[in-house]
Symmetry: C2
Subunit: 237 residues, 2 copies
């Protein structure tokens, strides 16, 4: 069994994704938001690519909440932004979230040829690794990146999930999976310290979101594995 890492949405190779179990990572912050929202009792998360699609989906469904960001900030007319700390039970329990983000949504939709599409973050890294390694399938780790660029935060998170996968089973790593795992392993005692070198980290700090980052760097605290299927992310387990 192989682990292949695609560091940006733009690097998705359909022939690698097909028949694999995909784990999508956008740790700052889309996949951390999704994981938190489902843990806190949301019914499901529907990822859409555009603001117009989100607005149109609200017309069709009841009990929905619109969430997401552009340039890290809440979208005009939306209920919630892209801070996982906003997705509290009182805001989202039993609601369906319609979500659009700059990078994460595209990454999830790019994996539609996979066997399973799991949502990964630092928060649920241990659980998602345990689930994705249950059957004998190759693993595709798809990092969202940031607006077409490699993002160090997603790369370190990928390294953490690879570490958890390798505790369960012996996988063959491709060169870039090896590099991600190496960098995680060398920094696992201070993950936030290495992520401080990410340009997206510094952008989020500059718009006042340091609290979000601290939360998103917590490893293995949520035992939940969101899965995307038929257009909706839910917690089927």
């Amino acid at each position: 069994m192989n682990i292949r890492l695609m560091p940006r949405v733009e690097d998705i190779v359909q022939k690698n994704i097909a028949k694999s179990n995909a784990i999508v990572i956008d740790m700052l912050r889309a996949t951390s938001v999704i994981t938190t929202a489902l843990y806190n009792g949301a019914r499901g998360v529907i990822p859409v690519l555009t603001v117009d699609e989100a607005m149109a989906a609200r017309e069709k469904c009841s009990d929905v909440v619109l969430g997401g960001e552009r340039r890290g900030l809440k979208i005009n007319g939306f209920d919630l932004g892209n801070s996982p700390l906003e997705y509290t039970p009182s805001n989202i329990k039993d609601k369906t979230i319609i979500m659009t983000t700059s990078n994460g949504t595209r990454a999830i939709k790019g994996c539609e040829s996979a066997n399973h599409i799991y949502i990964g973050s630092m928060l649920n890294g241990k659980s998602v690794a345990a689930r994705a390694s249950l059957d004998d399938a190759d693993i595709s780790i798809v990092c969202a990146g940031t607006l077409g660029k490699f993002s160090l935060d997603d790369f370190i998170c990928a390294g953490y999930i690879i570490d958890e996968l390798m505790k369960v089973k012996s996988y063959v790593l491709d060169d870039i999976s090896f590099a991600a795992h190496y960098m995680y392993d060398a920094n696992k005692k201070d993950v936030e310290g290495i992520i401080k070198n990410a340009s997206h980290y510094n952008y989020l700090v500059s718009i006042g979101l340091e609290g979000d980052i601290k939360y998103c760097c917590r490893m293995g605290i949520l035992d939940i594995v969101p899965e995307y299927k038929d257009g909706i992310i839910s917690n089927p387990f």
Copy 2:
């Protein structure tokens, strides 16, 4: 001034390359061959994309040597393969080399919008960094990769050249340049040791080319900066 790293030919972004000084890396082995050949007195190296182009170029020029590889092996009808150890003065002095390789040639030709296109390897890492940082231009580091895949050997070599660039001048690193520099810095006392984890390293060992690799891992031993201009790589300095 910025350093941007493109880890594979497929990641070349023309708007980043334009007006920058590009350093092309295919350390195992195309750019190590080019550096060695010019150091040993070749007149120039003409990179071509196909075997047919190489054969046709031989018809037009005198004093030429055909070199290159497919799947790591010498091409049928060519004079030399892709081992830098073959490019001795007795084989190539005052000759023009027509060269086609799987990855490196495409990487060089992909950079044609840059201000300068320098050829980088472990062998000339210090010299190429000194030259590329002479003028106030951003630096694009373009790794060839291996048949469309990220290659750990090129990544570590990029990290070494970034380290040499940063000794000369203060650059802003993008996230992937930071990662390459981090991995080099953590392994600079045993570069070959970390490169042993590259799948291309193991492929080359499997076809008996361990000697080539040992040579290609030697850092800063050749004080030469090959430059590609008007279709030919030469040593203009």
